[in-house]
Symmetry: C2
Amino acid sequence: MGAPDRGPQTSARKRADARRNEQSLLEAAATAFLAAGVDVPVRDIAARAGVGVGTIYRHFPTRADLVVAVYRHQVEAAAEAGPTLLAASDTPYAALTQWIDLFVDFLVTKHGLAEALQSDDAAFEALHAYFLDRLVPVCARLLDAAATTGEVRPDVAAYELMRGVGNLCIGAGRDPRYDARRLVELLIAGLRP
Amino acid sequence: MGAPDRGPQTSARKRADARRNEQSLLEAAATAFLAAGVDVPVRDIAARAGVGVGTIYRHFPTRADLVVAVYRHQVEAAAEAGPTLLAASDTPYAALTQWIDLFVDFLVTKHGLAEALQSDDAAFEALHAYFLDRLVPVCARLLDAAATTGEVRPDVAAYELMRGVGNLCIGAGRDPRYDARRLVELLIAGLRP
DNA sequence: GGGGCAATCGGAACAAGGTTCCGCTTGCTT
DNA sequence: AAGCAAGCGGAACCTTGTTCCGATTGCCCC
């Protein structure tokens, strides 16, 4: 196998203008996501970046590709935090709750991301896949460790838990009466045997 | 105060054709929701009912009005089941879990309803309002009773719980690996003191 | 340095769905 | 039976996603 395909944002060998545009798009998208959520119209991102819509589709065929590119660093950081927390915490359960906290923080601060993550829109399939592929194994490791010490029931799958947590984060921040963090805490509490 | 406004579906005094159309629309919408979810295109519902789109908007200004009209009976039934279960169950906690089960069953069998319930789309605001106005007090009563007997912690608001349960139902039935009922059970388990 | 070509670009054009609006039809009253 | 207001239908318009192709331009080679 040759060099791994690391996605559009690393652009092995492209024309200079193409690389420049990709960078502008990434920055424009990050700003636009912050201002108007991950559902911001494609035209708005294109306008912000000063390119045509065709250019967006060329670099990021689906919206999910753009979202993944924008948040990749943070997802990687979350993935790496799993083992770190496990090593540093008193008990696996403590590591699990801290890690889930991290994940919740990430989701609730990204307007519309939790919604997109659960959406059945085909445009978000790759988003779903990336998040889950990257984070479910990390969660599974924490969950297994906590199950081994008997701190949580052993019959809950990491996939299901992650989806549940993601779901609970939907709409967080839109209504002061709804505190996603609290509900996630309840869910995690319900994990005890 | 005079006769209460019971919404468009009861049509105090309208022309015969108007009442007929309203009925057709309700039936067409129920079928369409079943077949294609509550997000089915307005044009499809109109076609099914054999009316123009203008007629839909005249009778049901927002999609939420139509959804509420279609599911009103079932929501009322759920609301009435609250006190009934409380009276019939051994403990308030048992009544609460049974009632939540009922609610979850309702949501997971209505394609897209849970999503719509949490959506921030303005078209669904009235849906949100109706469900919450009608069901939160019922849930609050069950929750209070269970808190009084010490079966659940007293610091969880019915509103928050309902939103949480609704959120967990999002995407149920789209993925066999995700079992909304199970996660709701965990959440309810986390309610114990 | 400049020619040529393939990569890349821009944005017009098309599709889909929501919403509005108004000329026409028709039920109901008298 | 006539008249009129309630009600109807659907064309037209808006927003947003997506495709496509003629125009542009970076880059390689001479």
